[in-house]
């Protein structure tokens, strides 16, 4: 066999295997609806991503058990970007162009969202971002179903200030989430007659907090606010407790618990921390009890904790499915218009309604306290609007808007 012949035959072989691989997918495509999932299932962010995929799997299985959508089965297409931003771009393209999914659910950090948002915008593929984040994204191609600072920090800071005092020291992760969230803390502190003594940022790999802890003690704040993120930052809570300060200066956080920090730390280390999210596993509503029953039946009774992000993903899928039913189609624009009519669902966290002006959600928010590795609900605020984003974003008036607004204090 000479070189040319070899190239020819191997070319045919490749073409044959290629089309062989493609055939079943295209055959399937006609009678089912593909839903893309891009969540980190390995690498540093997998503590967040795995529960999200589990929740999405459950939501899709329930949809199929109830007869599917528009008479078709829903099929999950899952990609693992391995906590790597380049893979996010690649998989978003693959999902939209090759696998032709009807919607993409995914993205965890704000960085990953900003990576895939333009890709999906260009490909005219609907995008659901189901994570709590810093707010301000204004784009008709995306629906952000997670809570934003006006909903969480806006409830948590006044509550904590009333309980503990007006001087707040802020420690935050050094990227857009921490920077923007700490500005919201400052704004809400000032609006309630308080102040932030200092705001300090830490790159995600900092593990030595000794000098910072002494500085916090020297500043004598009434309370500490933490927007720290990820595994390395857990050392802060460790060293904070080791210095005995968790007994002296109380702490509130907008991130604690999302990565199950309350399970990693001991009860003595984390008891008394105040948090605020849309969903806590310990919410005692009939909707949540039933949801947890189904969740534990599917993934085992020993599932450590159903997180805020998992519940957000579950609710995100339900909202989209509701939109598809109303539109009677999976067409990108038709579903968007249907969702903009103010669709709402009853999720595990309560009623969730899409706000047409911002493509964010109106939902319940609870303040809770860490107690013995669990969350004790203190107060639930019904139907909090995404007022941070709606102050700057109006997609009805300006549907072509496409940017992330940043708050100025």
């Amino acid at each position: 066999m000479d070189r040319r012949q070899f190239i020819k035959t191997s070319g045919y072989a490749a073409a044959a295997t290629g089309s062989g691989l493609l055939l079943p997918t295209s055959a399937f495509a006609a009678d089912d609806i593909a839903v893309g999932s891009i969540h980190d299932l390995s690498g540093g962010l997998d503590i967040y991503g795995k529960p999200m995929l589990d929740a999405l799997t459950l939501a899709i299985e329930e949809q199929n058990a109830a007869g599917g959508l528009l008479g078709k089965k829903v099929r999950l297409v899952s990609y693992d970007p391995q906590s790597n931003m380049q893979l996010y771009t690649q998989f978003a393209q693959q999902a939209a162009l090759k696998d032709k999914v009807a919607v993409v659910m995914g993205g965890i950090t704000s960085a990953s969202r900003e990576v895939i948002r333009p890709v999906l915008d260009r490909a005219k593929t609907l995008y659901f971002y189901n994570t709590q984040y810093e707010g301000g994204v204004c784009d008709r191609g995306i629906f952000c179903t997670g809570v934003t600072p006006a909903q969480t920090v806006g409830k948590l800071v006044p509550y904590a200030m009333k309980k503990w005092g007006k001087k707040i020291y802020v420690v935050a992760a050094d990227y857009n989430y921490g920077q923007i969230t700490s500005q919201w803390v400052k704004k809400f502190a000032q609006e309630n007659g308080g102040s932030t003594v200092a705001i300090e940022f830490f790159p995600l790999d900092v593990t030595n907090f000794g000098p910072t802890i002494s500085k916090i003690e020297a500043a004598k704040p009434d309370m500490l606010f933490s927007a720290l993120v990820g595994g390395a930052h857990i050392s802060f809570y460790r060293q904070w407790a080791a210095a005995g300060l968790n007994k002296k200066i109380p702490l509130a956080s907008s991130t604690f618990g999302v990565g199950n920090e309350q399970i990693v730390l001991s009860a003595e280390e984390a008891n008394g921390y105040l948090l605020s999210y849309n969903y806590f596993q310990s919410l005692a509503t009939p909707g949540n009890t039933a949801f947890l029953q189904r969740f534990h039946k599917r993934f085992g009774a020993d599932y450590p904790n159903v997180t805020e992000l998992a519940c957000g993903t579950y609710q995100g899928f339900k909202l989209w499915a509701e939109g598809v039913k109303k539109a009677g189609s999976i067409d990108h624009m038709k579903v968007t218009t249907a969702l903009e009519s103010g669709i709402s669902i009853d999720g595990p966290s309560g009623k969730v309604t899409i706000d047409a002006n911002t493509h964010h959600c109106v939902l319940n928010v609870s303040v809770a306290e860490v107690q013995d590795k669990k969350f004790k609900i203190i107060q639930t605020f019904d139907q909090a609007p995404p007022s941070d984003t709606s102050a700057v974003c109006d997609l009805k008036k300006n549907p072509k808007d496409n940017q992330q607004y940043v708050i100025k204090v």
């Binding site: 030595n208 003690e217 020297a218 595994g231 050392s235 407790a241 210095a243 005995g244 990565g259 003595e268």
Partner: protein, 288 residues
């Protein structure tokens, strides 16, 4: 006054943690000229060994001071026999091999224990200096660093083992001619270096989150300390740790921990420009 005491404690702590984190690397690089890029992963293994020992009911202090060094020392000896000994004298190849090992170890630990953050609470509680609280564990770290330095010196200078090790590093052919097997000395030295890294990991476990990738946070500092220290192992380790640790912590106090890291790296660059052979290339020449 209280603040001054706190600053002194934190600076000593900064120096001590650099000594502990770099000791294993200093032994392996300083004595054997093997650039061990898996140093961070050895520490990670030490942390996991401590957690594992705790889980089967072993006392915390035994887990840190016995289990972690033993387990990681054993793994070190195994890896030396399987991989490193085939590559002595080929610096680039050892770098590549140890880098591969580091990726392998991260992968193995991730698939065994999952990529979740584990950890243990810091023991011993706290004490107060005036208006400030300090963790007792901080003092323990300082104490361990001092003991470690003294013990290293004693072993290298006062024991036959130390003499044989130093002799072999200086002239392996002559040691061989005198009836000492260099291959065995290398194996033991690598094992001791790995055990020291394991101890560092065990000591860090109660201070940080334990994840398979935790080594990455420490390896750069360890390398800077060892390179900055220069040819004398012990004097270099202590000298560079003191210099970098003090700069890092004082800068962190004056501004933020981020700036502390920047100051450390900047000091390292300036120092290596002025003293390309490291601190002991100019000062304390001929010391250990």
């Amino acid at each position: 006054m209280d603040l001054a005491a706190i600053v002194v404690i934190q600076v000593l702590y900064g120096i001590a943690s650099l000594v502990i984190v770099s000791a294993g690397l200093a032994v392996i690089f300083g004595m054997m000229k093997v650039i061990n890029l898996a140093h961070g992963e050895f520490m990670m293994l030490g942390a996991y060994a401590t957690l594992g020992a705790l889980k089967i009911g072993i006392n915390l202090w035994v887990a840190i001071f016995v289990a972690a060094p033993l387990v990681v020392g054993g793994i070190g000896v195994l890896l030396e026999r399987l991989v490193i000994r085939r590559l002595y004298g080929r610096m680039i190849d050892t770098m590549l091999a140890t880098w591969g090992l580091s990726l392998l170890l991260v992968g193995v630990v991730t698939s065994a224990f999952g990529n979740t953050t584990a950890g243990i609470s810091t023991p011993l509680g706290s004490f107060t200096v005036g208006a400030y609280s300090v963790s007792v564990y901080t003092l323990l770290i300082i104490g361990v660093a001092v003991v470690l330095g003294v013990a290293l010196r004693a072993v290298l200078l006062k024991t036959q083992l130390g003499l044989i090790a130093r002799g072999t590093m200086q002239n392996p052919a002559m040691a061989d001619a005198l009836g000492i097997s260099p291959s065995r000395v290398y194996m033991v030295t690598f094992g001791v270096g790995a055990a020291l890294s394991g101890l560092a990991g065990g000591l860090l476990a109660p201070l940080t989150g334990v994840v398979p990738t935790m080594g990455g946070a420490f390896i750069a500092k360890a390398f800077i300390t060892v390179i900055g220290g220069g040819p004398a192992i012990l004097a270099g380790l202590v000298g560079a740790s003191t210099f970098f640790g003090a700069i890092n912590q004082i800068a962190a106090f004056l501004s933020t921990p981020v700036f502390g890291e920047v100051a450390l790296l900047f000091a390292a660059i300036v120092m290596l420009r002025l003293l390309p052979q490291g601190i002991t290339g100019r000062f304390f020449k001929g010391s250990l």
